[in-house]
């Protein structure tokens, strides 16, 4: 009961803002008579989305599975790497420059390589999604794990806590807010990386739909696909917010 209420309370303003913006857009497009190939009207986009629900639905399903898998794999890799680096500081000193270099390369540059390495199927999408997420999570987790002050770490050490014990009981909880921030940023990055990878080579998915429709000057379908993808990521974001509240309850 209470949770349903709080869900409503968080969903309502978003819905209101969304509807407001769409209305503004629709009215603007009608007022200035903007041609569809420059900016379609939301009404037409929604109509197209409904008309092509089957196509878009199957594409969204594939993209979501890839994005979520990539997000999980990347989060695990990022967290594991951060933990390893905290446990073995020389590793951090040695690897962080490399991490920064790789993170500086736009994930798009890796798409063709990943397609070569992992094929055109789901593997390459999961890989590119994981790549996009893992570095954000790694950098945020690392910063968060370093947050506890020396005094608090010393207290744990005085109890004879092992590095793992300190990590588990002090550093990880203290890092939670920072990690969750990393997840929020990472989610957006992984979704877009997956969609772009799909555009550049895939058998199916939202990215392919966008790519093929653009070439066929079918902007209504392009926009409908983007709409559907954004809605999908909004849902994922909602899940993240719920997780955030669970993990960082003490704020």
């Amino acid at each position: 009961m209470a949770s349903r209420l709080s869900f409503l309370r968080s969903a309502l303003p978003v819905a209101a803002a969304l509807i407001g913006l769409l209305l503004l857009w629709q009215l603007g497009a009608m007022l200035f008579d903007v041609p569809t190939y420059i900016l379609p009207r939301p009404g037409a986009i929604v109509a197209t989305a409904i008309e092509k629900a089957g196509l878009l639905g199957s594409g969204l399903w594939i993209t979501s599975v890839e994005a979520v898998l990539g997000f999980f794999v990347g989060t695990l890799i990022g967290l594991a790497a951060a933990v390893l680096m905290i446990l073995a500081p020389p590793l951090e000193v040695a690897l962080i420059p490399l991490v920064i270099v790789i993170n500086s390369v736009p994930s798009i540059a890796f798409v063709p390589l990943v397609l070569i390495w992992f094929g055109l199927g789901i593997g390459s999408k999961v890989a590119i999604g994981a790549l996009a997420v893992s570095f954000v999570v790694l950098l945020n987790a690392l910063a968060g794990l370093k947050r506890p002050e020396a005094d608090a770490i010393n207290l744990m050490r005085s109890f004879g806590a092992s590095r793992l014990g300190i990590l588990w009981r002090l550093q990880l909880p203290a890092a939670m807010p920072s990690i969750v921030t990393g997840l929020r940023v990472g989610l957006a990055r992984s979704t877009i990386a997956v969609i772009v990878a799909e555009m550049m080579g895939a058998y199916a998915g939202i990215g392919q739909i966008i790519y093929q429709s653009t070439a066929q000057v079918d902007y209504l379908t392009v926009w409908a696909a983007v709409f559907v993808a954004s809605l999908g990521s909004l849902v994922l974001y909602g899940v993240l917010v719920a997780i955030d509240r669970k993990l960082v309850w003490w704020r």
């Binding site: 041609p35 569809t36 190939y37 420059i38 063709p112 397609l115 070569i116 094929g119 055109l120 555009m199 550049m200 080579g201 895939a202 058998y203 392919q208 790519y211 093929q212 653009t214 070439a215 066929q216 000057v217 079918d218 902007y219």
Partner: protein
């Protein structure tokens, strides 16, 4: 000189040598035009940019692109066609035992889903195959999956991917040309907007004259043309561009290109393409071809500028 722009369907390369040569040799300037060449890229839809007025002219995808654009109501007109022959071809490894298009049956065939898939469908139809007889998949712009044998047949353009394969030492392949199956789809359409044709036909004429003259000059002075292309792009390989120019010449001087001259519009092949697109439900209904393709400008191009 009037400032105008031309949008290409891809990055600077020998595929567009005529444009760059016309600019570099001052053909546009002589025609009273100050041309800016804007390259293309992935998801840069030339038809949209030209129809919206963002660019004055364009070298767009090809027959099917003009038809889609017209069907969606874009005020776009084609005034010339660069490639007279279908530039797409299908490749299979010699060892695969595929000796004709008919042997595609039951195979995994990759093609680009940016329009060329309908060329494949037409070819299949001409060869008496149903689409359900084989598995057609979307091809990425890398040839690597074909090299890795992830599918049996792949699509190439004669001017690029085929050369890429050869450069990587892959020569034990067979080539199947759509034209051999009786399917011709002209590519690299020269387009402008209805507004330009109505308001500044003299500029449209001047642009087409100079462009075709540029092409002719490029084919007659290939080394110089490649130099000009290399200067326009960044990080281009001379060897690859030379091969590309050779292949582009073959495609442009084929068929009507030999009789009518560079840039000729083949209304018969266009009608055939439209019929197949309607048949394959890529288009809901046919469009008015006379409005979409304006041959009057091509007719007025001086013969010495377009005839090789």
């Amino acid at each position: 000189a009037e400032p105008v722009s031309v949008r290409l369907k891809w990055l600077p390369q020998a595929q567009f040598a005529g444009i760059y040569v016309a600019k570099a040799k001052g053909f546009y300037e002589a025609g009273g035009l100050d041309v800016t060449v804007n390259p293309g890229g992935p998801n840069i839809n030339v038809e949209t940019l030209v129809a919206s007025g963002a660019d004055t002219f364009g070298i767009a995808s090809g027959t099917e692109g003009v038809l889609y654009a017209r069907e969606k109501g874009l005020p776009l007109v084609c005034i010339g066609m660069s490639q007279q022959m279908t530039p797409f071809a299908y490749v299979a490894y010699t060892e695969s035992g595929i000796n004709s298009v008919k042997d595609f049956k039951g195979k995994k065939v990759a093609t680009w889903f940016t329009g060329p898939q309908y060329t494949l469908f037409s070819v299949l139809a001409h060869e008496g195959l149903a689409q359900s007889d084989l598995q057609v998949v979307s091809q990425p712009f890398s040839m690597q999956p074909f090299i890795d044998k992830q599918y049996d047949v792949a699509t190439v353009t004669l001017y690029n991917e085929l050369n890429t394969l050869k450069e990587q030492g892959i020569t034990d392949i067979k080539l199947f040309l759509p034209d051999d199956s009786g399917v011709t789809t002209q590519q690299d359409s020269i387009v402008t907007s209805e507004k330009m044709i109505k308001e500044k036909p003299e500029q449209v004429q001047a642009f087409l004259d100079a462009t075709l003259k540029g092409w002719k000059y490029a084919f007659e002075h290939k080394a110089e043309a490649v130099d000009i292309v290399l200067a326009a792009g960044s990080g281009l390989e001379r060897k690859h561009q030379e091969l590309m120019l050779d292949e582009i010449e073959k495609l442009m001087v084929a068929k009507l290109g030999t009789t009518e001259g560079l840039g000729a519009i083949d209304m018969k092949s266009i009608a055939a393409v439209q019929d197949s697109l309607v048949e394959f439900k890529a288009m809901k209904a046919p469009v008015d071809l006379a409005a979409a393709f304006d041959t009057t400008f091509f007719a007025k191009v001086p013969a010495e500028d377009k005839k090789m």
